[in-house]
């Protein structure tokens, strides 16, 4: 072990190229948002094409970057040590994602436990209430904002409960697939991973259904006050992560079919599985604090 050589990958043009893609995405994205949401102030329409060119560049570069990595991995270049580095790196990445959601959950708790009661006059805020919006009533979910926008609260026991069941089931099917991978049972692995991907797509379909219902029938919108803001940002970012997770599992499913993984060499597969379980746990938390309580 002590004499094993370290593996240092060869130099690569992809990091720089991906930075260019990210740069175009950022410049295009900012202008796209401005031109799309405030066309009076921001003339022109070049933001959108630039954004999509940037995004396509970024995704394309990342794809060929990872293709290179996969080639090296399949070619046997990767050492065990590199595998451990990848695994640790993935876990820390998931931790950073947890903290990102933490910012929005923190905003939810702060709003619910402090801001809204204070606006309603709680604590030493009787005069705040009296002077700013005397007719405002503190409540949660906040279905009537201080400036009078009204909306409805999303109940927990319709679609969200079904979605909870779907995600929980998907975590179980994925675990069955995981065991199949470790035991080398390809048929079962492919079947259960396929079911997991389908469940992910099913979840997303129902969430789209829920959003349409919220927008068209409930008046629950992104701009319907802080409840709508928190609802859509939390469930929306979660949905984005389910999308990424589904794609991740789909790609590793293709790689399973190609025979890239075995009992030992399976980092990408396990990374996708960890990511999926992370997304699942976020949903459970979200179901309790956003929909239920």
């Amino acid at each position: 072990m002590a004499t094993e050589k370290y593996y240092v990958p060869e130099s690569s043009p992809w990091p720089l190229a991906a930075s260019v893609g990210l740069f175009l995405t950022a410049v295009g994205g900012a202008n796209f948002i401005q031109q799309a949401t405030d066309p009076d102030t921001f003339q022109g329409s070049w933001g959108m094409p630039l954004f999509f060119v940037g995004l396509a560049t970024l995704l394309f570069i990342i794809a060929i970057w990872w293709r290179d990595t996969i080639k090296e991995s399949v070619g046997g270049l990767h050492s065990n040590q590199l595998g451990i580095s990848y695994r640790q790196g993935m876990l820390w990445f998931i931790f950073s994602e947890v903290m990102f959601f933490g910012a929005f959950f923190g905003a939810l708790f702060y709003t619910r436990w402090l801001i809204v009661p204070w606006l309603g006059g709680a604590g030493s805020n009787a005069m705040t209430h009296e002077l700013l919006w005397p007719s405002f009533q503190s409540m949660w979910p906040l279905v009537r904002t201080p400036d009078g926008t009204t909306t409805q609260a999303m109940g927990a026991w319709g679609l969200p409960a079904i979605n909870t069941a779907i995600l929980l089931t998907s975590s179980i099917t994925l675990t069955i697939a995981h065991h199949a991978l470790l035991e080398g049972k390809r048929g079962r692995l492919i079947a259960f991973q396929g079911i997991t991907v389908l469940l992910g797509i099913f979840f997303l379909g129902l969430q789209v259904e829920e959003y349409i219902h919220a927008y068209t029938e409930m008046g629950l919108r992104l701009d319907a006050g802080i409840y709508g803001s928190l609802f859509f940002m939390l469930t929306g970012f979660h949905g984005a992560h389910v999308t990424i997770g589904t794609l991740f599992l789909f790609v590793t499913l293709l790689r399973v079919i190609k025979g890239h993984f075995n009992e030992e060499n399976n980092f990408a597969w396990e990374a996708g599985a960890w990511y999926w379980h992370f997304v699942d746990v976020v949903w459970l938390f979200l179901f309790v604090v956003v929909y239920w309580l």
Binding site: V8, P13, P15, S85, W92, F93, D223, S229
Partner: protein, 532 residues
């Protein structure tokens, strides 16, 4: 062709030309890129500070309009925090951590290169708005809401470039998170056999903990700017009380990031000083284990002190008291560090080469900044100090004569290892003494004008502050110009002009990095060394 042969081949010749830098997977080259980038941003941010000091040289409005002045203070802060200090420390981490733990490179070298190359593009976005502003493309063209970008200044009243600023912050965040993951994984996974955690040099320890802080709080900053973006364009109400949100929520989210961020900018400095003082005192570091525990304590406490930046927003008394006591508690582990450095010097065979001069200046001036921080932590008196030049003096003492001085110390200490030549002594001495005197002329009087009530972030001031401000500006120009001496020192080293450096460049230096030749060869530790 067997891939294994191609792989071996790669170890024997170093890439050359532009490709060497653009496509690099070498921790030393990427470290060099980071360090030059950081220095460029230091000069750019410094230039903006010169504009600020020129306007404040005399009372009244002379050179720029207040709107432009606001953009100068904002971008100065952003460029220094995100462009100069953070990448500077990442550059040092890249260069030194693999050498110090006997690793061949960072654990994920391509991601390492990506972390770097995102930065120039992010700053292209941020700084281009300043140029547009300076050359009259609409006013205000650049962010003008202060480096803390409080809502609603940055949401309802932010200029158009705010959206570009938001996305450039996202890019810096991506870069920092990837860089931090790389550091942690390198430290946990690539240490040479025998290099147990409690044998690691303190620079590695402090960076390990810094990297943890980065991964924990950069995503929170991303959340904050995302909320800004949706408040600005998609009608959300996070920072809008009429919709049930609260502008103060922004401050909570921002400072939950911002306070750990402060320690991100100082913990690696502690590591550097803990490397340099033992070398020139020719004694092992006093209280190594306590240094490790103190660093960890500071990092953990940093998550529960954020609201001390917000004592005047009208928090409940219980909250205010909690944050006051927690903040004061931080002085305990910080005090442990300062006393350990002093105890290391106690009865040591001290010599005062350039790195040691900077390190001692750091210990004294950082302690100054720490003590004014203790004053600021006391809520009732903070009501007087809040948003005055006293605060500006405090954080410039810890960031300029703290973090930046530590980076100068690090540069003079490790330049022989990086370049193979000793830094020029005459220029170095001039740089040190000139910086030391001017930095105090620049920042010390700020305490007085701040205590007397001069508010920060204004383009003009009451007449009674004129004399102090004149001298502050003189100190500022002097300090700014002094840094050109450092540029000269670095260029001379890069051109290999100077006395040749031996492998162990300083007599008392200990550690793996001094076992390899100077300059360190392109690849080091292909096979791990054994640490006893």
């Amino acid at each position: 062709m067997s891939t294994a042969a191609a792989h071996d081949d790669h170890h024997h010749h170093a890439p050359t030309g532009l490709k060497r830098w653009l496509f690099s997977t070498n921790h030393k080259d990427i470290g060099t890129l980071y360090l030059w980038f950081s220095f460029a941003m230091f000069l750019a941010g410094g230039l903006l500070a010169m504009v600020i000091r020129t306007e404040l040289l005399e009372p009244g409005m002379q050179f720029v309009d207040p709107e432009f002045f606001n953009q100068m203070t904002t971008v100065h802060g952003l460029a220094m925090v995100f462009g100069a200090v953070m990448p500077g420390f990442v550059g040092l981490a890249n260069w030194m951590i693999p050498l110090m733990i006997g690793a061949p490179d960072m654990a994920l070298p391509r991601m390492n290169n990506w972390s770097f190359w995102i930065l120039p593009f992010a700053f292209l976005i941020l700084l281009s708005s300043v140029f547009m502003s300076a050359f009259g493309a609409g006013n205000p063209a650049a962010p003008n809401f202060g480096w803390t970008f409080y809502a609603p200044l940055s949401t309802e009243y932010g200029p158009a470039s705010t959206d570009l600023f938001i996305l450039s912050v996202h890019m810096m965040g991506i870069s920092s998170i990837m860089g931090a993951i790389n550091v942690i994984v390198t430290v946990f996974n690539l240490r040479a056999p025998g290099m147990t955690l409690m044998k690691m040099p303190l620079f590695v320890w402090t960076w390990l903990i810094t990297a943890f802080l980065l991964i924990a709080v950069m995503p929170v900053l991303a959340g904050a700017v995302t909320m800004m973006l949706t408040d600005r364009h998609f009608g959300t109400s996070f920072f809008n009380a009429a919709g049930g949100g609260d502008p103060v929520l922004f401050q909570h989210v921002f400072w939950f990031f911002g306070h750990p961020e402060v320690y991100i900018m100082i913990l690696p400095a502690f590591g550097i000083i803990s490397a340099i003082i033992p070398t020139f005192a020719r004694k092992p570091l006093f209280g190594y284990a306590s240094m490790v525990y103190a660093t960890a304590s500071i990092a953990l406490l940093s998550f529960v002190v954020w609201a001390h930046h917000m004592f005047t927003v009208g928090m409940p008394l219980a909250g205010t008291l909690f944050f006051m006591y927690m903040t004061m508690l931080i002085s305990v582990p910080t005090g442990v560090k300062v006393f350990n450095w002093v105890a290391t010097m106690w009865r040591g065979s001290m010599t005062f080469e350039l790195p040691m001069k900077w390190a001692i200046a750091f210990v004294i001036l950082f302690t100054c900044g720490g003590l004014s921080g203790l004053m600021l932590a006391i809520t009732p008196v903070d009501f007087q100090y809040h948003d005055t030049y006293f605060v500006v003096a405090h954080f410039h003492y810890v960031l300029v004569s703290g973090a930046v001085f530590s980076m100068f110390a690090a540069a003079y200490y490790w330049l022989p290892k990086w370049s193979g030549v000793m830094p020029n002594k005459l220029l170095g001495e001039l740089h040190f003494w000139s910086s030391l005197i001017s930095v105090n002329l620049l920042f010390f009087p700020m305490h007085f004008v701040g205590l007397a009530g001069m508010p920060r972030r204004y383009a003009d001031y009451a007449l009674q502050f004129a004399d102090y401000n004149f001298w502050i500006s003189i100190g500022g120009f002097w300090f700014g110009l002094s840094q050109l001496l450092f540029l000269a020192v670095c260029v001379l080293c890069a051109m290999k002009k100077g006395e040749k450096a031996p492998a162990r460049s300083w007599e008392g230096a200990e550690g793996l990095e001094w076992e390899v030749p100077s300059p360190a060869p392109f690849h080091t530790y292909d096979t791990p060394p054994v640490v006893k």
